[in-house]
């Protein structure tokens, strides 16, 4: 191996390229830029203002943030629902004056003041909601008008009540607690806003109502088409927004106790800046309480720090305007380019050198022949993609198809077929359990059992999550093949955790250890990952000692043996390290050896590309997926080998006319039954000299 190749190998072993794509695929990555901006703001002003981090400074800021944060949350709810609420500032001012009037002038008790104020805010929200939600007026103009009207109302109330408000000094502990109290050392307003933020987060991410709001904001028409009451949902967001704004006004009133003409002026712009800066999309459907909190803290810090630095208020507004502009620009660009970036960087190949392929010339074990030429075709053009085949004691054939059925071909002539069960997903590996249940790996779903009475039972669809995996690898994406140990434990392979079912050949471009072998124990109902970082683990077959199994790694072109019991438990030993093709399923043969399907053959050009990850990465980025270099899965063969890894024979259909693709084979009563994932037939080959009474079920479970 040359020096540069060694460098390449270590470079790809050390740098986890694939993590970037996995991070970008996460929903929370939207928060990355807002958090970064927040950190920059803290660092800038923290160093510019001497006592920035003192308790008094932070406490004072925090109390103001409590009010401002509520406004941003109010706006966020409306924005997520696809609208905008410019009247939050006016409603805030209205909440302030109403609270003061109820407290100081009417002399109501504090709970009544709170309820009255909130109802007042809700009423403003209801007006907005009815106009925008039910009458379908433009949100921007409507709330602009309510902004002006509510502001006018506030001015009129001010004229009437301001003197009387100022004249009275309320004597209520509860009122003071509301404005200046601490709970566990934290200002009350912060507690209130924090609790509301958490509630909103739970509602948006975990409840039906929240999902309705997200769906409506994401696509109003689609939401309507799936039956979401769009108008009511939108109206509700405005009511919540009005109520929260009034609550913010109430907190403000209890803190300062004064009604001025400039209360809440320009707040809607600050709140809008905060909401957008936090990453809440102006287009709707994308936003969260966390984003609102991050954005509000950023704007709060900026505005207050500038005041403390002695910058005039005009420059302050100017800066706010610029930040809003910047935030909107980032929002648009990010939304537009995230998926482009993701699609470009997700495929992240790594260095994967395969051992030199063995020769295939005349007289060698892999020599070409046409022994598969006499294959009979079962169900030609009546089956779409039989990945694995299995037979029961009555010689019926079971196989999965592309549309999610397990199909049964009826013995003896297999002319008739029936849908045995519809399971959904993509049925792949099959095996019979001791009790006669058909255990099935279903791509996209997990591990399922079909009982003899045709009832379907989910065995497992998740395993333990890895500690440092960015991708949620607890879900089973591509359960592939399985086999059952004598004690009933089911070992199955998950080919890759990075790609969905239909993209399985793309995993070859990466050739990283994206796959694993998982054990489901029906006795305890637990699922545990037993082997990780395998290169597309595929076929699994129990050996005859009952304490180990053979497994194939497709893109690794090798077969290995794993001991799960006995003195060597937990060890893996190579059986065939250098196949000339890509192995798929493994199954028992009647004489104690094993059948192995090679789904495709290695090509020298791909072998070379596997040693040049940069080449494959650029290829994935520059050319269309249909143009990508693939493993040659158009031609395959069947190999028989023993536990020592000796190749005993090879069956070819050179030219691939009769049986184009082979992903599995099953010996049964002197015949070999052949499946292929992209095939339109099941092959049946008579085996000369094989035990004509041997069946797989009996080999596993005896005559019982």
């Amino acid at each position: 191996m040359s020096v540069s190749e060694t460098v390449t190998r270590w470079r790809y072993r050390i740098v986890p390229d694939h993590v970037l794509g996995e991070l970008l695929a996460k929903r929370w990555i939207d928060n990355a830029i807002p958090v970064l901006i927040l950190l920059v703001v803290i660092a800038t002003f923290g160093s510019a203002i001497p006592d920035f981090f003192t308790a008094a400074s932070v406490g004072n800021l925090a109390r103001q943030w409590g009010e401002f944060g509520l406004l941003v949350l109010a706006l966020m709810i409306v924005m997520v629902g696809g609208g905008i609420d410019l009247s939050v500032g006016s409603t805030f001012a209205l909440g302030n004056i109403v609270a003061l009037a109820l407290m100081n002038v009417a002399g109501l008790p504090v709970p009544a003041v709170v309820i009255g104020t909130l109802l007042c805010g809700a009423a403003v929200g209801l007006v907005n909601g009815v106009l925008v939600g039910y009458l379908r007026l433009r949100a921007f103009l409507t709330t602009l008008v309510t902004l002006i009207i509510v502001r006018a109302v506030v001015d009129m109330l001010l004229l009437t009540y301001s003197v009387r408000i100022a004249a009275v000094f309320p004597d209520s502990d509860a009122w003071f607690f509301l404005g200046e109290g601490y709970f566990l050392g934290i200002p009350l307003s912060v507690i209130v806003t924090g609790v509301i933020a958490i509630l909103l987060h739970l509602v948006l991410s975990r409840t039906r109502v929240g999902w309705h709001v997200m769906a409506t904001g994401g696509s109003r028409r689609s939401a309507y088409n799936v039956g979401i009451p769009v108008r009511r949902v939108i109206c509700t967001t405005y009511i919540v927004s009005g109520t929260l704004s009034a609550l913010a006004g109430l907190l403000f009133a209890s803190r300062l106790g004064g009604a001025g003409a400039d209360t809440g002026i320009g707040l809607e712009i600050a709140a809008l800046t905060a909401a957008v800066l936090g990453g809440n999309s102006l287009g709707g459907g994308r936003g969260s309480a966390a984003k609102a909190v991050i954005g509000s803290i950023t704007v709060m810090l900026m505005v207050n720090s500038l005041v403390r630095l002695g910058i005039t208020s005009g420059a302050n507004s100017l800066l706010l305007g610029f930040v809003l502009l910047l935030a909107v620009a980032i929002d648009v660009r990010w939304l537009k380019n995230r998926h482009k970036l993701l699609s470009e960087v997700y495929v992240s190949p790594t260095y994967a050198a395969l051992p030199p392929p063995p020769g295939m010339g005349e007289g060698l074990p892999y020599a070409l022949n046409d022994r598969l030429r006499p294959v009979e075709r079962i169900g030609l053009d009546r089956i779409d993609g039989p990945e694995d085949v299995i037979l029961d004691d009555a010689d019926n054939i079971y196989t999965g198809n592309r549309t999610g059925d397990i199909v049964r071909f009826l013995a003896p002539d297999y002319a008739r077929q029936e849908v045995y069960v519809h399971i959904g997903g993509r049925p792949l590996g099959l095996a019979f359990a001791r009790n006669g249940s058909l255990i099935c790996c279903v791509g996209g779903m997990g591990l399922y059992a079909v009982r003899p009475d045709r009832s379907i039972e989910k065995l497992t669809d998740e395993t333990n999550r890895s500690l440092f995996s960015v991708i949620d690898d607890s879900r089973l994406r591509l359960a592939d093949d399985l086999d059952i140990a004598p004690d009933g434990r089911i070992f199955f392979s998950e080919a890759t955790i990075r790609y969905e079912m239909h993209d399985w050949p793309v995993d070859c471009l990466e050739s990283r250890g994206n796959g694993r072998i998982i054990c489901f124990d029906p006795n305890t109902g637990t699922t545990r990952t037993v082997l990780k970082n395998l290169v597309f683990p595929n076929g699994i077959c129990m050996t005859h000692d009952g304490r180990s199994f053979l497994f194939a790694e497709t893109w690794g072109a090798r077969v290995s043996r794993y001991y799960f019991d006995g003195p060597r438990a937990g060890t893996v030993e190579p059986v065939i390290p250098d196949l000339p093709g890509f192995p798929d399923n493994i199954n028992r043969a009647s004489d104690g050896t094993y059948w192995l399907a090679l789904v495709g053959m290695r090509t020298p050009s791909l072998d070379l590309a596997l040693r040049m990850p940069g080449f494959r990465k650029r290829m994935a980025r520059r050319t269309a997926p249909d143009e990508w270099l693939y493993p040659n899965i158009n031609t395959g063969c069947i190999v028989r080998f023993d536990e020592a890894g000796t190749i005993l024979e090879t069956l070819w259909d050179f030219g691939g006319e009769n049986h184009p693709m082979i992903t599995s084979m099953r010996e049964h009563k002197g015949h070999l039954y052949i499946g292929g994932i992209f095939n339109n037939r099941i092959g049946r080959l008579r085996l000369d000299g094989a035990d004509a009474t041997w069946t797989g079920t009996r080999s596993y479970w005896g005559d019982a």
Partner: protein, 375 residues
């Protein structure tokens, strides 16, 4: 591209721009290939041809006093009355190109660089181009003048894929006076000229590696006019069509993957060094014969069928050009077809259009009804 580089400061900035383009896959590093559309819309006309006449290794065609002749290896064949190819003459080296002379003679270019004439007024004339003529690709006669296209002076004809991978630009055009045996070089530094034809006073040749047709004036060969550029394949021999216009054979397709490999020097160098030639990622006259050949994503068989639109490294394509050398219609054999690697076209006065598909070792006759291309 050249113009931009000059505007941006020439040599200093050029490499920087190329590096940046290479990083982002833009500019020269972009691997876009024009779509087969308009006049080049795919059909199955070559596979549905009226007659198929097998001839292994067929390369060039010519019409000699109404009789079609074909070169295959060292043997010159002629089409017999029963529609099969019969050997006519055997030579001591592979025949690289044919050109029928107006007086009934036939000029042949042989592997060693010799051009010899059989029959007609110049019978027996032998002109040696020597080592420069190892890769003669096409010839065109006009009176006593023979124009010769030399694809590459670095590689032999059989190594044309090597020349492409090396971005070969050593092709030349020669003029041979059959009356005197004098020869002179009209043009050099060409990207594999693979076909040429006289059109009035000018000489039009195809420059395969640059995917274009270029016209020069043989008497003032320094000015070049590009007639048709950015073709979706590698253009080869050109012949005049009956009733005006020309037929252009396109011997191999361009594809995104090949364009990409052509921009990857490290991979190319290792591929040439480590991978046997039949299994390279290069355009071919016939691809898909061995499972050791590269397979592309769209080429995976589903339900036992290779899709006609699958990405392929070989195809069959004849383009009908109008008087201005613009495409008017085309005959295709797609990825799943059996008439790949079209190296020559001939149009005898009687008997339809003959198309030599070297990749599949067959000459097909396309009836008049399909000569306008697909439906």
């Amino acid at each position: 591209m050249d113009g931009d580089a000059v505007l941006l400061g020439g040599r200093m900035i050029g490499p920087l721009i190329r590096g940046w383009d290479n990083l982002l896959g833009r500019g020269e590093a972009a691997v876009t290939v024009p779509a087969l559309d308009g006049a080049l819309r795919p059909n199955r006309a070559l596979d549905e041809a009226a007659a198929r006449m097998p001839l292994a290794d067929v390369d060039d065609l010519a019409v000699l006093e109404g009789t079609p002749v074909a070169s295959a290896g060292r043997v010159l064949h002629e089409l017999s009355a029963d529609g099969a190819w019969a050997p006519r003459a055997r030579h001591d080296a592979d025949i690289l190109a044919l050109a029928a002379l107006a007086d009934g003679g036939l000029a042949l270019a042989l592997e060693g660089g010799d051009i010899l004439v059989e029959g007609g007024a110049f019978a027996g004339r032998r002109v040696a181009l020597g080592a420069r003529g190892r890769c003669i690709t096409a010839m065109a006669a006009s009176g006593a003048t023979l124009h010769v296209a030399v694809g590459s002076t670095r590689h032999a004809r059989a190594d044309w894929q090597h020349d492409l991978l090396g971005h070969g630009s050593s092709g030349e055009i020669w003029r041979v006076d059959l009356a005197t045996g004098a020869r002179d070089r009209l043009a050099y530094g060409l990207g594999y000229p693979a076909g040429l034809v006289h059109d009035g006073g000018r000489l039009v040749f195809s420059e395969a590696w640059r995917h274009r047709l270029v016209a020069i004036d043989p008497n003032a060969p320094h000015g070049r006019t590009v007639l048709y550029h950015d073709m979706p394949g590698y253009p080869g021999r050109i012949v005049a069509a009956a009733g005006g216009g020309h037929w252009l054979s396109v011997f191999a397709p361009r594809s995104q993957l090949i364009e990409f490999v052509l921009r990857e020097p490290a991979y190319r160098a290792r591929m040439v060094a480590e991978v046997p030639r039949p299994y390279w990622i290069v355009p071919k006259l016939r691809a898909g014969r061995s499972f050791h050949e590269p397979l592309q994503g769209g080429g995976v068989k589903h339900l036992g069928i290779l899709k006609p639109w699958a990405p392929t490294m070989s195809f069959g394509l004849c383009v009908k050009l109008d008087g201005d050398f613009q495409p008017r219609s085309s005959l295709h054999s797609r990825a799943d077809g059996a008439t790949h690697g079209v190296t020559a076209i001939a149009e005898p006065a009687a008997g339809g259009l003959l198309v030599a598909a070297r990749g599949d070792g067959v000459v097909v006759r396309v009836g008049a009804d399909r000569r306008g291309g697909g439906r």
